[in-house]
């Protein structure tokens, strides 16, 4: 079905916009002007097509990174999302030089106060607590505020007896907060332990990229773990591993496809199918369905 909407005719239009190629190439995921170039297949895409296709390349199915706000809008039913802790912000517990400036820049460029948006909403009528990380905010790194927002969201879900869905996108723990960031791994995992003991469902949707301390905490603890096609998922960085083993790693190393092959992902779900898939999983787990 989706192929029907491929607008191949755009390939034949004037080459004029392609002059902007070099400029666009630097930021493949934030299309400038009318046209964007897919970072994977190199095709020039009409920006409106990309938006209407939920930021998936119509030619090669490359899933371009979404902002947290875009994803919340894409996922939840209109006017059902109620955000939690919108004003929570990071502080600088180690007095790390330049950290406040870096945070300020991310706040300005993303319009968010931190690298995760949490709240309660409905997905095709199914109610859930939803956390969406934003890789455009300091690479989605987890410091105290991210850890606290996720922990509170999970605790709220226990109070309300709702399932939790977390969309992960993170470079890992936030270095600038040192040991405090490390402890967020324990804190979020402990909260998910409570959620599990309460008999509530936790769905992880791993998106590009998910690495380090987030992989080694809540990203891999889902009762159900979904992943977007091609998403980078791993613990250690590729460069670090290559330096350790002194050889080049295969192209598909640490991708969603690699992880499903090794048994760490339940299902790879194309973005166009995600809302329906999540709704179906939620419906099957709905408590009223129990006998």
């Amino acid at each position: 079905m989706n192929n029907l909407f491929k607008r191949n005719k755009y390939i034949t239009v004037s080459k004029e916009p392609i002059k902007k190629e070099a400029q666009v190439e630097k930021k493949p995921s934030i299309p400038g002007g009318m046209w964007a170039k897919c970072a994977k297949c190199g095709q020039t895409i009409y920006k409106e097509d990309l938006e209407s296709n939920n930021k998936v390349c119509p030619y090669c199915d490359h899933h371009i990174r979404m902002t947290a706000r875009e994803r919340v809008e894409f996922l939840t039913d209109i006017d059902t999302f109620m955000e939690f802790d919108r004003n929570m912000k990071s502080v600088n517990p180690l007095g790390f030089e330049g950290y406040e400036e870096k945070l300020g820049k991310s706040v300005e460029s993303t319009g968010l106060n931190e690298a995760v948006v949490t709240g309660k909403g409905e997905i095709l009528g199914e109610e859930a607590v939803i956390c969406v990380m934003d890789s455009f905010f300091m690479m989605g790194s987890m410091g105290s505020a991210v850890g606290e927002k996720i922990t509170r969201a999970v605790e709220k879900a226990i109070d309300l007896r709702l399932p939790v869905i977390i969309f992960t996108a993170s470079g890992g723990a936030r270095m600038q907060e040192g040991i405090f960031s490390l402890m967020q791994m324990a804190k979020t995992s402990a909260a998910l332990g409570k959620l599990s003991d309460a008999g509530l469902l936790y769905i992880t949707v791993i998106t590009d990229p998910t690495t380090g301390g987030v992989t080694a905490s809540f990203a891999t603890l889902g009762d159900v773990i979904l992943a977007e096609p091609g998403a980078l998922i791993g613990f250690a960085g590729r460069r670090t591993i290559e330096q350790t083993i002194k050889k080049t790693l295969p192209e598909d190393f640490q991708t969603a496809e690699f992880m499903i092959k090794h048994g760490f992902v339940d299902k790879i779900v194309h973005r166009r199918d995600q809302v329906k898939m999540i709704k179906n999983i939620l419906a099957i787990h709905r408590e009223s369905g129990r006998r």
């Binding site: 502080v91 105290s144 040991i179 324990a186 995992s189 402990a190 250690a236 350790t244």
Partner: protein, 273 residues
């Protein structure tokens, strides 16, 4: 600017060098001195036995306990066997298996933390290093038996935390506990691993720093020059503290124990709203 401890004149970097010395006592050096009749158990029951993690059962002053630790080598040959104390996922799964066994038989769990970090290579990723660590964090947070971990050398990253979500966390005076090795930290933030010394001195990784932050509960004194100068004395000090603290933890109802462990980690973090 490196912060120099006035009394010992040691920077964080100096301490890091000290705990990385081959003479630094390892987990087994303490286990042999603190416990009676330690019996080592092997394997994760899934894939292998990781020699970077040792574990088993023992008696502590007449009390049955489960003991687990990162194990570095005491010479180059042993270090190769033990992978310098950097575990594979199999090591963490072995540790978790022994912890669940301890829970079943109501034995307190004592962990010795001493690793630069979890090992990274193809096999570690294929077998889910991230998942292995995450699972330990979740399970340890709600383990229904008392637990204490002691950082005896290097406490690096999630690889250290995976043995340290316990009722109490102690550090030897010169040991360090950090989000990442200073080399890795400098590599990520400044793309220059050679600035590790500079990183170590601003990362706030010493026992004193972490006690000040409320991240750890106790600092165990070391003799002048470091733990290797008098291992017996350090082991004795650890043993004394273990006995008295476990007495207290054992007398708590298990629900209360698990809830206060949850709250301990729950309350870590600084933010504004």
């Amino acid at each position: 600017m490196a912060v120099v401890d006035i009394k010992t004149k040691k920077t964080a970097w100096d301490r890091l060098q000290l705990v990385r010395m081959i003479e630094r006592p390892t987990a087994m050096d303490y286990i042999d001195r603190i416990f009676d009749s330690f019996i080592e158990f092997h394997g994760d029951r899934y894939f292998s036995d990781d020699a970077a993690v040792v574990g088993g059962i023992a008696m502590l002053d007449g009390m049955p306990v489960t003991v687990i630790g990162h194990q570095k080598g005491r010479n180059i040959k042993e270090n190769i066997k033990r992978n310098f104390g950097m575990p594979q996922p199999d090591g963490y799964r072995k540790a978790l298996r022994l912890m669940k066994q301890a829970e079943k038989f109501n034995r307190p769990v004592i962990c010795f933390v001493d690793t630069k970090g979890a090992h990274c290579d193809e096999g570690a990723e294929e077998r889910g290093q991230g998942e292995a660590i995450a699972r330990n964090l979740l399970e340890m947070s709600k383990l229904r038996t008392p637990s204490i971990s002691i950082v005896i050398g290097e406490g690096g990253s999630g690889g250290a935390l995976a043995l340290a979500v316990t009722d109490q966390v102690w550090m030897l005076e010169n040991s360090i506990y950090s989000i990442l090795s200073p080399e890795g930290f400098a590599g990520i933030l400044w793309r220059d691993g050679s600035r590790a010394k500079e990183a170590a001195n601003i990362m706030k990784i010493t026992a004193k720093d972490l006690k000040g932050f409320g991240i750890i509960d106790k600092i165990i004194k070391e003799p002048f020059g470091g733990a290797h100068k008098n291992v017996d004395k350090v082991a004795e000090e650890i043993k004394k503290n273990l006995i008295s603290t476990l007495d207290k933890l054992n007398s708590k109802p298990v629900e209360e124990l698990v809830q206060s462990r949850y709250e301990k980690f729950r309350n870590m973090g600084e933010y504004s709203e």
